[in-house]
């Protein structure tokens, strides 16, 4: 009898422990209550008007410094912007931006890990923190700047959407493409612009949509479509890797504005500032004529006070960014100024030559304009 009572007590104790375990995470007790609580919390998460403070100011820089390497989301398929060259090295202006950012943070442009991301997965990779910064010929647009949880820092390349066709097919305008098939890559602003432009012009066409740049251009090369569309820079660079580049012409139409630039996550203003002023440092250095070759001379003997502030001789601009004061010096010494970066990947000596055009300094009729270093 006494044993029976004991076993009943034992059962009660175990049961109460189980219930306590259930109630651990929630105010209510009991297994069933938990299920209810989960359902109830959905609207709370949706409506929560005052969102708790986000990841926080300075968190990204601290994480990057603790890791000792910057992780940069890049393209690996567009020569001149982000490409793995024959030696297995990454090259292109988007890639060089990453190197400049690493130089600003660590004083060492090699402390960067390049992570190729597709057009479709890039924003998720940035949101989830898999990459610290996205530098992958990404167009600045409203939805991306807001709903996709990112901030564009600055424009590194002013682009516009173009259309490439095979030479000798008599296609000179978009209207000639009526009834034709156009290859386009999914998950891009290009896909949306194409639909917009063709609808506005009343031209009927069939899209052939592909997952990445390689398959888009492979299908075009196989003549699956009459034309292929992407940013003009992308067309120029992809044309160089087609079998016979001279057999393809880029139509003289610009279908959209495509400002390309690096993007960071919402919620860390310090990181945003660093990513943004790295671009401005590159542009200002070109404006002041400071190059990787003469940066030491310029630091020893600055031509004007702003150069002195840029290179860290005067003031503490670097410290205000949370970096060392010679951050811009490191960028210029190790990566160069904007012109050097541009010419290395897109200059006249490269197969992917694109004239500077809009991407000249404002002093030379272009759009590149950096705020003062002060």
């Amino acid at each position: 009898m006494s044993r029976k009572i004991f076993s009943v007590f034992g059962l009660l104790i175990v049961a109460s422990m189980v219930l306590a375990a259930c109630g651990g995470g929630t105010p209510a007790a009991g297994t069933e209550r938990i299920v209810e609580t989960v359902i109830v919390e959905v609207p709370v998460a949706g409506d929560a008007a005052p969102l708790p403070p986000p990841a926080g100011y300075g968190a990204t820089l601290a994480a990057v410094q603790a890791r000792g390497v910057l992780i940069c989301g890049v393209n690996s398929q567009v020569p001149g912007f982000g490409y793995i060259d024959a030696d297995g090295n990454f090259s292109g202006i988007d890639v060089d931006y990453c190197r400049a950012l690493a130089a600003a943070i660590f004083g060492d442009s090699t402390k960067v890990e390049f992570r190729p991301v597709t057009a479709a997965e890039r924003f998720t990779a940035l949101q989830s923190g898999e990459i610290d910064v996205l530098s992958r010929n990404t167009t600045w647009s409203t939805v991306r700047d807001t709903e996709l949880g990112g901030n564009f820092t600055a424009t590194t390349f002013y682009d516009g959407q173009g259309m490439m066709v095979r030479a000798g097919e008599g296609i000179t305008t978009l209207a000639d493409l009526a009834g034709g098939t156009i290859c386009v890559q999914t998950g891009t602003t290009t896909e949306l612009n194409l639909a917009d432009v063709m609808a506005a012009a009343g031209i009927a066409y069939t899209p052939a949509v592909f997952e990445d740049a390689d398959s888009t251009f492979a299908a075009y090369a196989e003549e699956r479509c009459d034309a292929v569309t992407t940013d003009k820079s992308g067309l120029v660079s992809r044309r160089t890797v087609l079998e016979d580049p001279s057999a393809h012409v880029i139509l003289d139409v610009t279908m959209s504005k495509e400002p390309l630039g690096p993007m960071v996550r919402h919620g860390d203003d310090q990181w945003f500032d660093i990513a943004q002023w790295t671009v401005f440092a590159l542009i200002s250095a070109e404006e002041f004529g400071v190059t990787s070759a003469n940066v030491d001379a310029a630091k020893a003997n600055p031509s004007n006070p702003e150069v002195a502030r840029l290179l860290g001789n005067e003031g503490d601009l670097g410290l205000k960014l949370g970096l060392s004061n010679d951050w811009a010096y490191n960028i210029i010494a190790q990566v160069g100024n904007y012109e050097e970066v541009y010419n290395r990947s897109l200059g006249p000596d490269t197969p992917t030559y694109i004239p500077r055009g809009l991407n000249s300094l404002y002093t030379e009729g272009g759009l590149l304009y950096a705020p003062p270093f002060r």
Binding site: C22, I34, G187, A195
Partner: protein
């Protein structure tokens, strides 16, 4: 009995297997619920940190992109949910066409594998072994880049008799375009279908009474065809007008175009899945005992009759469960369409995900949809399986 009850009472609770089992079940359930809750909260917190929240209202927004082939009226200004539907229909189309074709091919292969003709047997065996050991993704890309995109250009199109054109823009064939009498004709067809069903039911019931089953299916089908033919001539104008493909400039206009993407996906899925179905059919046939075949031959059935009347009905019981999983595989594998650019459910959802930035919602929706497809297929096949099991006795 008295002894056993006193024995049960004497076991302390921490050694009583019945309680221990119960407690283990409870603990397991609690762990599952807590883990699920933790994962969910983790996701919600992660989204909150990014400043985004969960919700499906974005599906009403304007899609803004075009889809190359749709079965519904989708255009640039349609909503995201309509784009999702377009993808859903395309997946359904590929799955249904794929299941029908791969079943036919699979049965032929499975039977050929057991043929007494060595050439047929070896060919079939070689095919099955090669296909089953290939990667489906590689195979699909082979069909797309290696076969359908290598067809001649539009200007050099290969023409098959009956104005069928083979080009790298797709396979174009004459097609019927519905005219204004189509709704009327459709009504006639529905009436014909009802008639055929009624006739079938009457014949079936009479067969039960007399014990001599008539050819129910044959007569019903004949009735339907008769109504369809009469209806065609009764309506004032032909309900379908023939639309012939014509090469015009860059493209072929008119007719029905089966795009290279669709062709590559269907060919790849069918040829691949048929190999597995072939093996399923072979194992099912071999599971029927030899005595059954010998008995059937002894009473004078020819080989085809033996197969149709004796072997197949019995083999079906063995075949159906693994066949179901092959059907499920085909449906799920159709999501590889993304590799060849066919706008199926997953592909379109991927585009929506990217343009709207709603990854969690879209992935959940896609998973839920595939789950629903699979469950519906399973339920149907299980019902069919139960039915043929009943017929056995």
């Amino acid at each position: 009995m008295a002894q056993s009850s006193s024995q049960a009472a004497s076991i302390p609770i921490w050694r009583d297997e019945r309680y221990l089992k119960l407690i283990a079940q409870i603990v397991f359930a609690v762990v599952v619920v807590l883990t699920a809750n933790y994962l969910y909260q983790n996701m919600v917190n992660g989204l909150r940190q990014q400043g985004t929240t969960l919700g499906f209202t974005f599906l009403g927004g304007i899609a803004g992109f075009d889809i190359s082939e749709t079965l519904n009226d989708f255009s640039r200004t349609s909503a995201y949910w309509q784009a999702f539907l377009a993808g859903l229909y395309n997946t359904l189309l590929v799955s249904i066409v794929g299941i029908v074709l791969s079943t036919i091919l699979g049965i032929i292969l499975g039977v050929a594998r057991l043929s007494i003709n060595p050439l047929v047997r070896w060919l079939s065996a070689a095919y099955l072994e090669i296909m089953r050991n290939l990667s489906l993704l590689v195979f699909l890309i082979f069909w797309y880049l290696g076969v359908f995109l290598k067809l001649p250009r539009v200007r050099e199109a290969v023409e098959w008799p009956g104005q069928v054109y083979l080009t790298n823009r797709g396979i174009v064939m004459p097609w019927g375009l519905p005219t204004e009498t189509m709704p009327m004709y459709r009504t006639i067809l529905i009436i014909g279908l009802c008639l055929a069903l009624a006739l079938g039911l009457v014949l079936f019931l009479r067969g039960r009474q007399t014990g001599k089953p008539p050819l129910t299916l044959l007569w019903s089908t004949l009735a339907l065809i008769l109504v369809a033919v009469i209806g065609w001539f009764v309506v004032p104008a032909a309900p379908l007008s023939l639309d012939l493909p014509v090469i015009q400039g860059l493209n072929i206009t008119g007719g029905k175009t089966f795009t290279p993407e669709f062709m590559a996906l269907v060919s790849g899925l069918v040829l691949y899945t048929a190999a597995f179905i072939g093996e399923v059919v072979r194992s099912g046939i071999q599971a029927v005992s030899r005595g059954q075949v010998e008995a059937a031959r002894a009473i004078g059935l020819n080989p085809f009759q033996t197969l149709r009347l004796v072997v197949f009905p019995q083999a079906l019981q063995v075949i159906i469960p693994p066949l179901t999983s092959q059907y499920l595989n085909l449906t799920k594998n159709s999501s590889l369409a993304i590799a060849v650019g066919y706008p199926d459910l997953f592909y379109v959802s991927n585009t929506i995900m990217n343009q709207s930035g709603r990854a969690v919602e879209m992935i959940s929706l896609v998973m839920l949809t595939y789950l629903t497809f699979s469950l519906i297929t399973s339920v149907f096949m299980n019902w069919y399986n139960a039915r043929i099991l009943l017929v056995e006795r």
